[in-house]
């Protein structure tokens, strides 16, 4: 349910091609995320422009995906209105790095507010 591409400077871009992340696919989403990010050390940027709906299970899968990065940031792009709403309501918009779109994300040096560590 996602396409993986790597930019020349080592950013992994995961483009979701599902239009819903819900209870029917949340576990599958997390498993695919794990496969794609396994062994990748650089930034991870997820393009959510195709995702028109996300429920509690879907949001939970996003949190699980973030935890798989072991302390690194998970950057999200192009949140549609319904997805933006669930992130804002649960204040998860403070936990993930959210960009307007992939181009904006890639034009930055690293995750927003990343420590110099």
């Amino acid at each position: 349910m996602m396409q993986a591409t790597q930019t020349s400077n080592g950013v992994l871009v995961l483009t979701l091609d599902a239009n819903r992340i819900d209870a029917a696919c949340a576990v599958h989403m997390k498993d695919e995320f794990r496969e794609h990010t396994n062994g990748h050390e650089g930034r991870v940027v997820m393009d959510l422009s195709s995702v028109k709906f996300m429920d509690s299970s879907g949001l939970g899968a996003m949190v699980a995906a973030l935890k798989l990065l072991k302390g690194r940031k998970l950057e999200l792009c192009s949140l549609t209105a319904a997805v933006d709403k669930v992130f804002r309501m649960t204040r998860m918009d403070n936990v993930f790095d959210i960009h307007t779109d992939v181009l904006t994300a890639l034009s930055e040096e690293g995750p927003k507010g990343a420590d110099a560590a």
Partner: protein, 164 residues
Amino acid sequence: MNSSALMQRSFGAPRLQLEDTINADPLSIRDATVEIMARLTSEFPTHSEGIISTEIVLAEVLNNIAEHSYDDSNLGDIKISALCTDDLISIETRDYGIPMPGLTPPKTELEEIPMDIEDLPEGGFGWFFIRSLSSHMEYRRVGTQNIFCVQIATTSENIPDTAP
């Protein structure tokens, strides 16, 4: 049908009535949600905020029934009815699973975001969404049925204050 066709469109008059019975599994829930939302979206094309709220509430109510009432067995009927007026979308579900503990919907507050990412919750936002996005909700146990009613304002902008 004739009487409602003759009814003037006035405050509170029903605009759309839907009924559906589905099996309580995640794919059937997704299909039913998509189908009901397609009908509602064409009826309320300008009420995008209320439509988004309704889709979240509907999906979470159905997920809760599958997960808790039918204990993730993927077996059991859910009867869904929706009734819409100009300013309110009412959804009623009936199922034949186990009653809600304490015969009341859980009170879930949004917890503070923990400092450690490992402590972040991986779900359990369902009741928070339902409570936050609805104007009214009610649960009854009648015989072997769970009956749950929830109402969402079509013009709702019930986003809680997220200021830091």
